[in-house]
């Protein structure tokens, strides 16, 4: 079947091990059309030519959206762009999808957001000098890229996460309470509406609005935030003891900023560009971090933990290799920035370890990543997750999965602090967090360095818990037969 692999493994045999094709300078013909010269090898042995590859790539995106039917016509969708390859490919797919003839056109209204997280990468003189210049350059290039698309865009910086309101940590209204109209009905309604608009001589508003610039805080142009803010953020990241905690912190701040922009600008969906490779790595990393209960929300196509804003991952079926080839063949612009601690050699994070492990395995066993991915696909969100009444973790907004006894196991490991500052002590936060967030929290700095919105919300929840305890005896329980007392 495939010449590239030595033998095809059936069930029970060893996984297919890759053998390199014999050295020859003449590429083989495409396996799909048999016509053009093959340019890229997808999966284990399938060599596609450029044209067939492009068709395959575009089809996958539309199939992913069509199969899952969560994005309704006319809906406002925020595309989270990092400048990296996967999110840039996602942007290109959205552009192509929106520009097709009416029948096959994608039907949502996109907006773009770029979060400048350069402050999380400490370099010598991070707040001044060469790295500031680089940061400005990256921002300018990114803005040019966003402007070219013609969609409304937002440039945010991670420093803005320090100004978020505490309400960001609360689940929004809607999502599970109202019944959503059926997808088919929504599409039909939308098409009818469009036909009416055309009949009325209304040119029809194209989804591509004018390029506007706006930040969640209301309108900062592409210049850097105040140095004091950057320093505060640097302190926050510095206080995190391990690289793993820093990565988790970065992800948390980024997702909260995304959520905030979506909420304030009226977007009900957010699309993130996580590739299959990234999803598989995240799956195993999260297992190692203690987030096994939330794998489905963390890596699934739909993530509705926030209630009113749903996170969607349309690129999760694409291998990183396919994305890289697509971007190269079809000129998708990217703005690559060095990631968190790109060059540090001494310590590493669980994320980096897992990446090296999976990618290393993938070289010799090319079905590794897709196997992990497909296993993850079988996970579905627990019914309890969609229940809005449940207690939720302060940081990750997943259902609290810890019973009371677990706290005792963690207590001896908490550093003894001054019980003088009550609400600010670490122990006050612990009951509000899920298992993995407790582990991460343990490795972050003292609570005083945490972003203000986290502290505010924690205080609020603790106050409410205290209040509830105080009036507990006066509350009617559902399973009581008679109201207590006379």
């Amino acid at each position: 079947m495939c010449e590239a692999s030595g033998r095809c493994g059936g069930c029970g045999e060893a996984p297919v091990r890759r053998r390199a094709a014999p050295a020859c300078s003449r590429p083989r013909p495409c396996v799909k059309c048999g016509d053009g010269p093959a340019a890229v090898v997808i999966r284990i042995g399938d060599a596609f030519c450029r044209a067939c590859f492009r068709e395959y790539f575009v089809h996958k995106f539309r199939a992913m959206l069509g199969k899952n039917r969560v994005i309704f016509p006319g809906e406002k969708v925020l595309l989270a762009l990092s400048g990296g390859m996967a999110s840039s490919a996602m942007l290109r797919q959205v552009q192509e999808g929106l520009s097709r003839e009416t029948a096959k056109r994608l039907r949502f209204v996109p907006g773009l957001i770029y979060i400048d997280a350069a402050a999380a990468v400490p370099t010598e003189g991070a707040v001044c000098g060469q790295s500031l210049v680089q940061r400005e350059q990256t921002l300018t290039r990114m803005e040019a890229l966003l402007q070219e698309t013609g969609f409304p865009y937002y440039l945010a910086s991670l420093e803005q996460a320090l100004e978020l309101p505490g309400s960001i940590l609360r689940r929004g209204p809607g999502g599970d309470s109202e019944p959503s109209p059926s997808y088919k009905a929504a599409v039909e309604g939308f098409i009818q509406q469009q036909r009416q608009e055309e009949a009325n001589g209304d040119g029809g508003t194209s989804p591509a609005g004018l390029g506007t610039q706006d930040g969640p805080a209301g309108g900062s142009h592409a210049h850097l935030p105040a140095a004091a803010r950057t320093e505060e953020l640097l302190r926050l990241f510095d206080a995190a003891e391990t690289l793993t905690a820093k990565e988790e912190l970065l992800q948390m701040l980024r997702s909260h900023l995304l959520l905030h922009t979506a909420r304030t600008q009226g977007y009900t969906k957010v699309m993130t560009g996580e590739s299959c490779t990234r999803v598989a790595i995240k799956l195993l990393t999260n297992l190692a971090l203690g987030r096994g209960a939330f794998l489905a929300v963390d890596t699934g196509f739909v993530d509705s933990r926030h209630g009113d804003v749903t996170v969607v991952r349309p690129m999760r079926d694409y291998m990183a290799k396919e994305i890289a080839f697509y971007n190269h063949f079809f000129g998708v612009p990217t703005v690559i920035t060095p990631p968190l601690h790109a060059k540090r050699r001494e310590k590493t994070s669980i994320h980096r370890l897992m990446e090296n492990f999976l990618l290393g395995l993938q070289v010799d066993f090319p079905s590794t990543i897709s196997t992990v991915y497909r296993t993850g696909e079988k996970l579905s969100v627990a019914p309890a997750e969609s229940n809005g009444e449940l207690q939720r973790c302060l940081l990750c907004l997943c259902a609290l999965d810890i019973a009371g006894e677990e706290e005792l196991a963690l207590e001896p490991t908490l550093v003894k602090e001054d019980t003088g500052n009550g609400a600010e002590s670490r122990a006050a936060f612990i009951p509000l967090l899920c298992y993995s967030c407790r582990l991460t929290f343990k490795e972050m700095g003292p609570p005083a360095t945490l972003p203000p919105y986290v502290r505010t919300e924690a205080q609020r929840r603790n106050c409410r818990a205290l209040m509830k305890q105080q009036i507990q005896e006066f509350l009617l329980e559902d399973d009581e037969e008679e109201p207590g007392g006379s």
């Binding site: 390199a20 300078s25 590739s275 080839f325 190269h328």
Partner: protein, 101 residues
């Protein structure tokens, strides 16, 4: 004796950060007894172009997992990977797919 081979070596996806940020390199490989193949080219790159952290680009005698190699805009898996014999005016592109998107 193999004649000197003139190549364009390019880096993308972040790999250029290991090469002083320079994406395109025009190189001429000196003549040597064995013909030039990708394996030797990698050794040559490690000795002559790589400015820092070789383990971020290479692993053993091949590239680090996560780095794609394109020979004349085609997947190197179609060309024999490390055994592909380089020809004059070939274009070799290394794209890093590590760290995000």
């Amino acid at each position: 004796m193999a004649a000197p081979v003139s190549l364009q070596v390019e880096f993308g996806g972040g790999a250029e950060l290991l090469f002083d940020g320079v994406k395109k390199h025009q190189v001429t490989l000196p003549s040597q007894p064995e013909p030039w193949d990708i394996r030797n080219l990698l050794k040559w790159i490690k000795q002559n172009l790589l400015k820092e952290r070789p383990e971020l680009f290479m692993q053993g005698e091949s590239v680090r997992p996560g780095i794609l190699v394109l020979i004349n805009d085609a997947d190197w898996e179609l060309m024999g990977e490390l055994d592909y014999k380089l020809q004059d005016q070939d274009n070799v592109l290394f794209i890093s797919t590590l760290h995000g998107g």
